[in-house]
Every structure is written in structure tokens, then in C-alpha cells.
Amino acid sequence: DAGITQSPRHKVTETGTPVTLRCHQTENHRYMYWYRQDPGHGLRLIHYSYGVKDTDKGEVSDGYSVSRSKTEDFLLTLESATSSQTSVYFCAAGSLQTYEQYFGPGTRLTVT
């Protein structure tokens, strides 16, 4: 699993509150990703990072922002959470040599 951890693992929050999810890797991968998983949609890319302070949008980026100040940490922020952002969020880190991605255990976020 390339040492990918996510925190928190579960969170319940209210509509309109800010939320930050953290992803930490220990393998020094340059690329990191945030996906969300929803029933019937598989996993969809939110944002990704190709280096410290270098990020780009994915398919479902509206309402989300990311930051990467260190190689090992990739943060996902919901500035003002909405019920449509209730989901399971997965972080991944990627190897440029093999194109494989290693996934964290996921964070289950519920917005009430």
C-alpha cells in the first residue's frame, strides 16, 4: 500500500462547515490524487498533485481545493460542505515508473 494513510477515517459534519482531509505517504511519490467514491459512479478524480505546490483539477473539482506543501502530505479541503459531498474519499500516490497507484484506506464523510 506504499504507506498511504488518511485522517480522519470517519467524519460527520454539518452543512456549511469547512472540512479538511489529510493524506500522508511515506514512499516519496511525486504524484498524489484525491478521488471520491459514490454508488453507481465508481471512483472519480477530484484533484491531483504533480509536485510540491503543483496541483490540477480533476473531473469533479467544484467545491474542493487542495494543497501540497510537502511531498508526503496532500490535503483536501471542502470550504463549505454540502450534502452532495457526502461520500467516501480515497487518496492515492502514484509511481511514474509503473503507473500504479497505491490507495489509502479511505475517509467516510457524512454531511448532515
Binding site: 465508481g42 478524480l45 480533476g58 480515497f90 502514484g94 503507473y99 490507495f103 484506506p105
Partner: protein
């Protein structure tokens, strides 16, 4: 953009029977393709991958997949299914930023 389609949302097989999960890709050049498995409440585990070369690739847990350019397919197979194979299976293709574009998944149920 590169994409994959998994036509079957649910599949039920008897334990000991053979299994084939379908995946069709959309990409002009040779795609980089993956199969991942997700057990209930768990993260994603890589089963196998295809980049080039031999079109029949072997993976973990007795799975294999065959790349067929003429059919734009990368179907996952297993000759004899075990009850522990019950899970959600995702086909994915590498896209921009080395991110993965996932299919919507196929849920496998194994009956006694």
C-alpha cells in the same frame, strides 16, 4: 479522454464456477489498463495491469486478463471462483496527469 466501461453492474456466480468480468476501453493508442478489487469497507487492491507486450497478463489471487485490441476489451477472468472473491471490481485506464479513469464497477456475488 481515455475511458473504460464496465457493462455489468452485478454478476452472480456459483463457487467453483468460472468468472469473466467485462471491460471495454475507449482510446486510440495502446492504453495502460488496470483491474482493482475492493472488498466491503476496504480500500482498493491492484489485481493486474497491462501496458504492452503479452496480451494475456497474470495477476494476484489467480486472476488473469486478456487485452484484445480488435474488441477494445480487457476482460478479467478466473477459472474457479472462491467465496472470498466476492467484492467490487474496477477496471481503470491511465489518463492525463497519470490519474486513473475508473469504470463504475462490477459487484460480484458468489453463491454456495
Amino acid at each position: 479522454a481515455q475511458s473504460v466501461t464496465q457493462p455489468d453492474i452485478h454478476i452472480t456466480v456459483s463457487e467453483g464456477a468460472s468468472l469473466e468480468l467485462r471491460c471495454n476501453y475507449s482510446y486510440g493508442a495502446t492504453p495502460y489498463l488496470f483491474w482493482y478489487v475492493q472488498s466491503p469497507g476496504q480500500g482498493l487492491q491492484l489485481l493486474l495491469k497491462y501496458f504492452s507486450g503479452d496480451t494475456l497478463v497474470q495477476g494476484i489471487k489467480g486472476f488473469e486478463a486478456e487485452f484484445k485490441r480488435s474488441q477494445s476489451s480487457f476482460n478479467l477472468r478466473k477459472p474457479s471462483v472462491h467465496w472470498s472473491d466476492a467484492a467490487e471490481y474496477f477496471c481503470a485506464v491511465v489518463t492525463s496527469g497519470y490519474a486513473l479513469n475508473f469504470g463504475k464497477g462490477t459487484s460480484l456475488l458468489v453463491t454456495p
